[in-house]
């Protein structure tokens, strides 16, 4: 596996998706050649360490953002504004510089000739977009996506909103069992909020379906050195804290010790 590198790249394009979501595009063929679906970059607006700035701006941590798309090095990051770091990213425009560390993490295992379900919630959408592009030729793919309101919804096969403003009213897992049965799903990829992933795992275990989940964690280094981003992985009797940034972010769902997360 390639080791994460540090890079500075200009933003070549910025795209608005909805009130809270936007995409930042960079372009680098060499970087693109290393990326796999499910991997991510730690990114940040270029921090300038000036002698005498207008106001001292504290350099802040990089934030982990999945690779949303990668067309021969045209790499996109689809980002939801939630706090300080993503807000700072949301201020960037074409021409501004991004600092990047990556590609990081293991990525999703790819498959062929399977009946695949993608299930995502909110900002869990981006990694699955890149993933489905690699999957659709070789597999049957059905994608369920849910969010709180319409502004959390993006193109897919089945949409859910909690307020019912777009698609079906409820949560993405509400009709999951039926879908699995009807479509004879034999492989699941999921990414989204904790509650959704846990519920999806419960159901996939019930039907004994292979299931990979991409997890989130607060990160400092993003390259495996600080052990700050761990989650409990293994069996009920024998588990360890593994690093989301290195052994993850994708784990076999049944190995994730949800009960102690």
């Amino acid at each position: 596996m390639t080791k994460p590198q540090y890079r500075q790249r200009a933003i070549v394009q910025r795209e608005e998706l909805s009130e809270d979501y936007f995409i930042l595009w960079i372009w680098d063929e060499d970087m693109g050649a290393l990326c796999k679906p499910g991997q991510f970059y730690e990114i940040r607006a270029l921090a300038v360490f000036e002698d005498a700035p207008t106001s001292v701006s504290i350099p802040r941590l990089f934030k982990p953002i999945s690779i949303y798309d990668n067309q021969g090095g045209r790499i996109g990051f689809m980002i939801k504004r939630v706090g300080l770091g993503t807000n700072a990213l949301s201020k960037l425009k074409a021409g501004d510089t991004l600092e990047l560390i990556g590609p990081a993490g293991n990525g999703f295992p790819l498959a062929e000739d399977r009946k695949i379900l993608l299930i995502s919630g909110g900002a869990g959408y981006p990694p699955l977009w890149y993933l489905q592009k690699k999957l659709i030729g070789q597999n049957k793919v059905y994608w369920i996506h849910g969010g709180a309101t319409g502004s959390d919804i993006f193109p897919c096969d089945e949409m859910w909103t909690e307020d019912g403003s777009i698609g079906r009213k409820g949560r993405a897992c509400d009709d999951l069992e039926n879908t699995i049965k009807e479509r004879e799903i034999d492989l699941i990829y999921s990414c989204g909020p904790f509650g959704m992933l846990k519920e999806a795992t419960r159901i996939s275990e019930m039907y004994d379906i292979e299931h990979y989940s991409s997890l989130e964690a607060y990160m400092a280094c993003g390259i495996g050195v600080c052990h700050g981003c761990t989650v409990p992985i293994g069996t009920k009797e024998d588990w360890d804290y593994l690093r989301v940034c290195k052994e993850g972010p994708v784990f076999s769902a049944k190995e994730i010790r949800w009960e102690i997360m």
């Binding site: 921090a47 504290i58 607060y218 280094c221 600080c226």
Partner: protein
């Protein structure tokens, strides 16, 4: 680069040399345990470092603390790793060979025991290994109950521990001190009297952060270790105080982000400095500090020795 600039860099190379008790360092820049590893070396040439310190190892493997383990505050970082590590046997079997393979700078092994006997046992096991240039004895981790930190707070315990370790090694024996004590100079003097060849300070301060909306602690364990920019004034005060009372060299750390921060600590009495949290906010911190320090020394025609501990008050 023109010939002149190349020449300058070489000269700076001369001026950047420093040493601990036993160890010669090509630059005064070290890395602080737990914030750095081989992965970081992907970002630049390791030769800007004077030493490499690995994450603290314990005798047995440690799972570490439950997550969340990290939170970034206004001016620093709170961590609660809990010394997660594979244990000494695994370290010797897997990590050490890799370090020997990939490192061209001196390796300092940081370790922590749960008793003086265990510290001694670990040191003996490490002494049997080649490719180790020294030890950083971690008696100061705030994230492990009744283990690391208990040792670090009592002068007599520290003195006894270091006295027991000293006869077992000729390598660098650096004792890493906690800032969470009433009088760090007492502990420092005890470590020196026991036979430490150098001191490292500071480890993390106690720190906490709470989600004001929900009342939830930002890290699972409540109180964690506070590091980064916000602790620099504290680290500097303790470095200065300690340098006043001991003769052995000090590796100073705590909120050092750039070469100007580094210089402050050298003026205050440090023979070397280590970068920690800085790595997370500036992946190129180490080479930048090296360049900045080198330029400063050259431009002012000074060596490390000229400024070490030369800070004045009027």
């Amino acid at each position: 680069m023109g010939n002149n600039v190349m020449k300058q860099r070489q000269d700076a190379g001369e001026q950047l040399k420093t040493s601990l008790g036993v160890l010669k360092m090509k630059t005064p820049i070290s890395v602080s345990s737990g914030t750095f590893d081989l992965e970081t070396l992907e970002f630049y040439d390791q030769n800007c470092l004077g030493a490499f310190v690995c994450k603290t190892i314990t005798r047995e493997p440690k799972k570490g603390n439950p997550p969340p383990r990290l939170y970034e505050t206004e001016a620093g970082l709170i961590n609660s790793i809990g010394l997660q590590n594979p244990g000494l046997d695994m370290f010797i079997k897997e990590n050490l060979p890799r370090y020997r393979e990939e490192l061209s700078v001196p390796l300092i092994v940081s370790f922590s025991g749960s008793s003086t006997d265990e510290f001694c046992e670990m040191l003996e096991m490490l002494e049997a290994q080649e490719g180790i240039d020294g030890y950083e004895i971690n008696i100061s981790c705030p994230n492990v109950e009744n283990e690391g930190i208990a040792f670090g707070t009592q002068a007599d315990v520290v003195h006894n521990l270091v006295s027991r370790l000293k006869p077992l090694t000729k390598r660098e024996l650096c004792i890493k001190l906690s800032p969470n004590v009433t009088d760090i100079t007492e502990i420092a003097k005890a470590a020196e009297a026991g036979g430490a060849t150098s001191l490292a300070l500071i480890n993390s301060l106690y720190g906490m952060a709470v989600d004001h909306q929900t009342g939830m602690s930002r890290i699972k364990m409540g109180v964690g270790g506070y590091t980064g920019m916000g602790i620099k004034p504290v680290a500097l005060a303790l470095t200065y105080k300690t340098a006043q009372v001991v003769d052995i060299p000090i590796v100073a750390m705590g909120g050092i982000y750039d070469w100007k921060d580094a210089l402050e600590f050298i003026w205050a009495g440090a023979s070397a400095i280590a970068l920690g949290t800085a790595h997370f906010v500036n992946p190129l911190a180490a080479p930048e500090v090296m360049m900045g320090l080198g330029d400063y020394l050259l431009n002012n025609n000074k060596s490390m020795n000229d400024i070490k501990g030369a800070c004045r008050f009027s």
